[in-house]
């Protein structure tokens, strides 16, 4: 009872509890010193949070929004030109129009990618679209003309050659086609530049996985294919909450035991159908570390280091068990899939 009421106290304090819930809480408070003290603490915390929430900026901020939308010196919304390079030919441009929606328009390509020069590489389109999707949460791709878009086979249903074809690419990697419900595009936003970070000229700024191939783009928008097969990738936006969500997906219920600063410790159930133990997540300027500990003792079964750039390095599986955990993050910090075997299937060396 006390546990049940305790978890409702924040809602009681913020006024979002319904009448029945409030009656239950108030009845309980009459006989529970612990919950009464807890509510008094919540009340003080709530007041402190409200006092520090800050006043909202005025309409000058809105003026700055429109100034940014309009661009420097432009009276009307102006296209932002993202330079792209043709597969074999001269540089092309891809216009990103900031009117009503983020719309990418590929203009004037009268023939298929396979035949002519000067055609944009589909990877470049995806990069540009993903870039916009990253900003707005979603973007629309508009292909005009006869553009054969040779995407990964996973992008089932993208019509080839017949245009115009309009597809929506969402920030979570889904493509919505006009004649279909939706499908998942075979690309993965792996890595994006860290805001404010200075990088050497020509260094890789973005990495995208399409199917099994990993592409990199450098500051000069040059593409290359990564030769070495990566062990795994996570987004540079991976935060401890994502780790928790990943493990929750892999193991079932999970509770946050410790939540201070950059370090997190989580506990998840012990059972035949789940990994057992605790995971200790910490991260600093250079890496995120994840350790899964066997419940009841300190033996580590899995240690992951995730560099700030987003690459999962040196998975360590010490001791007597072998665990294969696949972590795939296909959007900025949004976990999509996690695969981990149940404890009953973990093999001992």
């Amino acid at each position: 009872m006390a546990q049940h009421v305790e978890e409702h106290l924040p809602l009681y304090a913020n006024g979002s509890l319904d009448d029945e819930g409030r009656r239950v809480v108030e009845g309980h408070l009459q006989m529970c010193a612990a919950c009464t003290a807890s509510l008094a603490a919540w009340s003080n915390v709530a007041d402190a949070v409200r006092a520090t929430s800050g006043s909202a900026p005025g309409y000058t901020l809105l003026d700055r929004v429109f100034a940014e939308v309009d661009g420097p010196g432009a009276p009307a919304p102006a296209p932002v030109v993202v330079p792209i390079t043709g597969r074999r030919g001269a540089p092309r441009s891809l216009a990103v129009l900031g009117v009503a929606a983020v719309v990418l328009v590929v203009l004037g390509f009268a023939s298929s990618l396979t035949g002519d020069q000067d055609e944009p590489d589909e990877r470049e389109i995806l990069f540009a679209a993903a870039e916009s999707a990253r900003e707005a949460g979603t973007a629309r791709l508009v292909y005009e003309g006869s553009l054969e878009l040779q995407l990964d086979p996973e992008v089932a249903g993208v019509p080839a050659g017949a245009g115009p074809v309009v597809a929506e690419l969402r920030g979570d990697g889904e493509v919505v086609l006009p004649d279909r419900s939706r499908t998942r595009v075979g690309f993965e936003i792996v890595e994006w530049p860290v805001v404010g970070e200075e990088r050497p000229e020509g260094s890789v700024t973005e990495t995208v996985r399409i199917g099994d191939t990993v592409y990199e783009r450098d500051d000069a928008a040059r593409f290359s294919v990564r030769d070495d097969e990566p062990q795994g990738f996570v987004s540079s936006a991976l935060f401890a909450t994502d780790i928790a969500a990943l493990l929750e997906a892999a193991t079932g219920e999970i509770s946050e035991v410790d939540a201070g600063g950059n370090d997190r410790r989580y506990r998840f159930p012990v059972g035949d159908d789940a990994l057992s133990g605790e995971v200790d997540v910490g991260y600093d300027d250079v890496e995120t570390t994840v350790e899964v500990l066997v419940d009841g003792d300190d033996e580590r079964v899995l240690e992951l280091r995730i560099e700030l750039e987003g690459q999962l390095v040196d998975p360590v599986v010490p001791g007597r068990v072998r665990v294969d955990v696949t972590i795939e993050v296909t959007d900025l910090g949004a976990p999509l899939t996690v695969e981990a075997p149940p404890a009953s299937q973990v093999e001992e060396d």
């Binding site: 305790e6 007041d47 900026p57 429109f66 900031g98 410790d258 506990r267």
Partner: protein, 200 residues
Amino acid sequence: MATATLDRRHAPRRTVADTGAADGALLARVAAGDRGALADLYERHRAGVTGFVSGIVGGDRSLCEEVLQDTFVAVWRGAGAFEGRSAVRTWLYGIAKRQAYNKLRGKRFELTVLDDEVRPVAAGPTPEDAALAAADRRYVAALLSRLGPLQREILTLAFVDDLSYPEMAEILEIPVGTVKSRLSNAKVALGRLARAERGD
């Protein structure tokens, strides 16, 4: 035993349907290029989004305004692609959250070290609750800056935006159970800081 009294009583809440319908209509006008509609949307949400973002960035007003600007630029550009699969407010807060963490990625976070025990519900008041309840509000406000961004974020959603657990869960894209535990842990963390400061 007397029930604890809150300074702030429970005002009637706008229904989600009322808010959502008005927001949806405004966003449709934004998508059509209506700048006045964006101004109206900004007016409706600027206080809430400011509090939310301020919580994430730790009260850095300059950074907060940068995030707000980026957020409403993204709203202007992305309004046409909004499909209504979530509430406008959830969508808006999601954008603000992404923009805020984009900014924070280049910054060093503070580290607050806590022990790792799950605290069962105590028979009597916990020392942390007692310390928090007795602490001066301004002092508690100062302690908030020592929490991590995730804890400030959840406290802001709970007590500035007055959201329910499902609403917080949707915005933060975490399970409701995690919302509850994160809130609880934020309070425990503040209580421990309050105790440590007064030498308990």
